[in-house]
């Protein structure tokens, strides 16, 4: 056995140039195979995360989008039942307190007020507490018509708003600069229409459904009320707001909420299904995947043909050597096995470098092309409601983050097996060639 291994190593060393060429071709082949595989894995990962995100976001998109029709809309809620829902919620809080006692440190309520904050139409009144003008200059959301808020308007109490072009023209809305819209019973004047991101590159997975661009600027209590409405209407399963403190005046709470509910007026908008949004996000990512796949599979094809041809050429050159071994009594099967062992030895030396490098390359290319870093964010905001302080725990994935690709050990193993499989396939002709060797024709004069 040792002698055999020694001979194989000598054989590789004696043909340094050829060994290196094989190594290089295998390196290219496996690097692109890994690239194709890893980018697919990464895309799937991104898609999965985006879908999760959509699911969460959709739940909170409804207050300002839903049609306020009499029927309960899929993914939305029925405005006629608001009070009923609030009552149910209050009852639930009561039950919670009954179960855990008034002394419990936290009472959990199910909503993501800050999610509402992220998606409601952008407006301006004396309750502004978050506004970032850079959104309209640095982040591609250009003003299509009208203007943004002036510095003094942010604190003046003027009730103004900017409208997403999508909202403005969606369904029956037909909203233009100068129009008045109502949120709650408060009127806002539209001073600008900003473009959505539909015209951004398809390679850019930060492309988001236009509805996600809006940012709420409405009173905290109102946010909270909207959040509460959504919580029951949409049947959220995961609690995410923590109300700090152990004393809640249920009656005050109820009255306050009831008052808010009655002031709601409506903006017309369509309800989008998860599928529709998911598809619009999926497309650019799949386009990236297609480009990756095209490059990777082309390179795999080219390098496979080159490797296949070179290995065959080399085997033909070594035909006599195989003949000598067979003439000495070595079986053809063992001769094929030795050749395969040689090839896999070189190949695995190539994989050791190509696979990690390629994963890194995929990560880097994807990062530059997609410019997306998905990471989980945890934010805690404090709000006051009914003279009490509350903490809102908002946990969400940020789509504007960096591409993060990690392969598990199992996936590395899959890649390794896949690569080895391709090498074995590429030497199929050599196996046939060795099987058909007749030492008599090669060695006798």
């Amino acid at each position: 056995m040792m002698e055999r291994i020694r001979r194989i190593l000598w054989s590789l060393w004696a043909r340094k140039k050829e060994t290196f060429i094989i190594w290089f071709l295998v390196f290219i082949l496996s690097a692109f195979m890994t690239l194709a595989y890893a980018s697919r894995m990464a895309n799937d990962d991104i898609l999965k995360r985006i879908e999760e995100n959509i699911e969460v976001s959709l739940n909170f998109i409804s207050p300002e989008l839903e049609g306020y029709e009499n029927n309960i809309l899929p993914g939305g809620f029925d405005s006629e039942n608001h009070l009923k829902m609030i009552n149910e919620f209050v009852a639930e809080v009561k039950n919670f307190i009954a179960e855990y006692g008034n002394d419990s440190e936290f009472v959990e309520v199910y909503s993501l007020a800050l999610e509402v904050n992220d998606i409601a139409p952008m407006g301006s009144d004396n309750n502004i507490y978050s506004y970032d003008a850079a959104v309209f200059t640095d982040e591609d959301y250009s003003i299509k018509d009208g203007r943004t808020f002036a510095e003094d308007e942010l604190t003046s109490g003027a009730r103004l708003c900017l409208m997403n072009e999508y909202f403005a023209t969606n369904g029956d809305n037909m909203i233009n600069v100068g129009d008045i819209i109502y949120l709650g019973d408060i009127d806002y004047q539209v001073i600008g229409i900003f473009g959505d991101s539909a015209n951004r590159s398809l390679l850019d997975t930060t492309y988001r459904y236009p509805k996600y661009l809006a940012q709420v600027i409405i009173p905290e209590e109102e946010i909270f009320a909207l959040a509460l409405q959504n919580q029951k209407a949409l049947g959220l399963k995961h609690p995410s707001i923590i109300i700090k403190g152990n004393e809640i005046d249920i009656q005050d709470f109820k009255e306050e909420l009831s008052g808010l509910i009655n002031t709601q007026t409506h903006i017309n908008a369509d309800i989008e299904t998860n599928e529709g949004i998911s598809d619009s996000l999926r497309k650019p990512i799949e386009n990236v995947g297609l480009i990756f796949s095209f490059i990777a599979y082309s390179m795999i094809g080219i390098s496979f043909i080159l490797l296949f041809s070179f290995v065959l050429y080399l085997a033909r050159k070594r035909k006599k050597e195989f003949g000598i071994l067979i003439a000495m009594g070595q079986s053809k099967l063992l001769t094929i096995g030795e050749f395969l062992f040689e090839l896999l030895l070189i190949a695995n030396l190539a994989f050791a470098l190509s696979i990690p490098l390629s994963v890194k390359m995929t990560e880097s290319i994807s990062h530059n092309m997609i410019n997306t870093n998905i990471e989980r964010q945890k934010r805690i905001a404090e709000i006051s409601f009914v003279d009490k302080d509350y903490e809102i725990l908002n946990e969400q994935e940020n789509l504007y983050a960096t591409y993060d690709l990690r392969l598990s050990n199992g996936e590395y193993l899959t890649l390794l097996l896949m690569n080895n499989g391709v090498i074995i396939i590429s030497s199929a002709m050599v196996m046939l060639l060795i099987a058909r060797i007749k030492p008599k024709d090669l060695l006798l004069g």
Binding site: M1, E3, R4, R6, R7, W10, S11, A14, R15, K320, E321, G323, I324, L325, I326, A327, M328, G329, Q330, S331, K332, K438, P439, K440, L443, L444, G445
Partner: protein
């Protein structure tokens, strides 16, 4: 009975344009142990074909080749070449990227024999390849030296039958003589049966038995000794 190899009713032909081209027809012959045989014949008479058949490099179209009474086809040609017969070629057929030592060791490993460094070096030494030459790549050795390595390789696996195809065809007179003397020594001292195909009449004379292949009758004729 002292026979090591026996051919019975051996025939061989190849197809040429749909027509059978007969090389050997119903050949019967026995080779005895510990003798040095020379097979002679005109070019194209079938010497090499006969050699490839008795060396287990090809299968007869009909008839049998018996090694110590066992049909070599049934024995398995690979196994026969591995365990019972060793071959020496005109153009040496050593593995070029290995040194002399490793060429011999390779043969031992294929024959599943124990590889002992001193024994291998001893074999090479016995055939005129000293320690420093044993470490040289075989392509750096002279023709005569390469043929000696090939002989050492054949002897090292310790088989009783050595089959040589024009072993002196590429060598000068001195080296040829030395190789023929080695073959004589192999049969007399090491009790091997050596079957050598040669064109060279002088070399044939050195053999114990000379067998001629008749081109027209496609058979072997025992010529006796010179």
């Amino acid at each position: 009975m002292n026979e090591i190899l026996k051919v019975e009713n051996l025939s061989y032909y190849y197809m040429d344009g749909g027509k059978e081209n007969i090389i050997l027809e119903n050949v019967d012959f026995s080779f005895e142990k510990d003798l040095f045989y020379a097979i002679i014949g005109e070019s194209g008479s079938g010497k090499t074909t006969f050699l490839s058949l008795i060396a287990g490099l090809d299968e007869p179209k009909s008839g049998r080749i018996l090694y110590e009474g066992k049909d070599i086809v049934k024995l398995g040609l690979s196994r026969y070449r591995q365990k019972y017969a060793a071959m020496i070629f005109q153009n040496y057929n050593l593995i070029p990227y290995l040194n002399a030592y490793d060429n011999v060791a390779t043969a031992l490993s294929i024959a599943k024999k124990k590889i002992d460094k001193n024994t291998v070096l001893g074999f090479l030494e016995r055939f005129g390849i000293d320690g420093s030459r044993a470490k040289r790549k075989v392509e750096k050795l002279s023709g005569g030296e390469q043929q000696r390595v090939a002989i050492a390789r054949a002897i090292a696996v310790d088989v009783d039958l050595i089959i040589a195809d024009e072993p002196t065809g590429n060598l000068d007179i001195n080296n040829s003589e030395a190789i023929i003397n080695i073959f004589k020594e192999l049969s007399k001292v090491y009790h091997k049966t050596v079957i050598m195909v040669t064109h060279n009449e002088k070399n044939a004379r050195a053999a114990d038995r000379v067998v001629r292949i008749d081109r027209l009758k496609h058979c072997l004729v025992y010529d006796g000794t010179y």
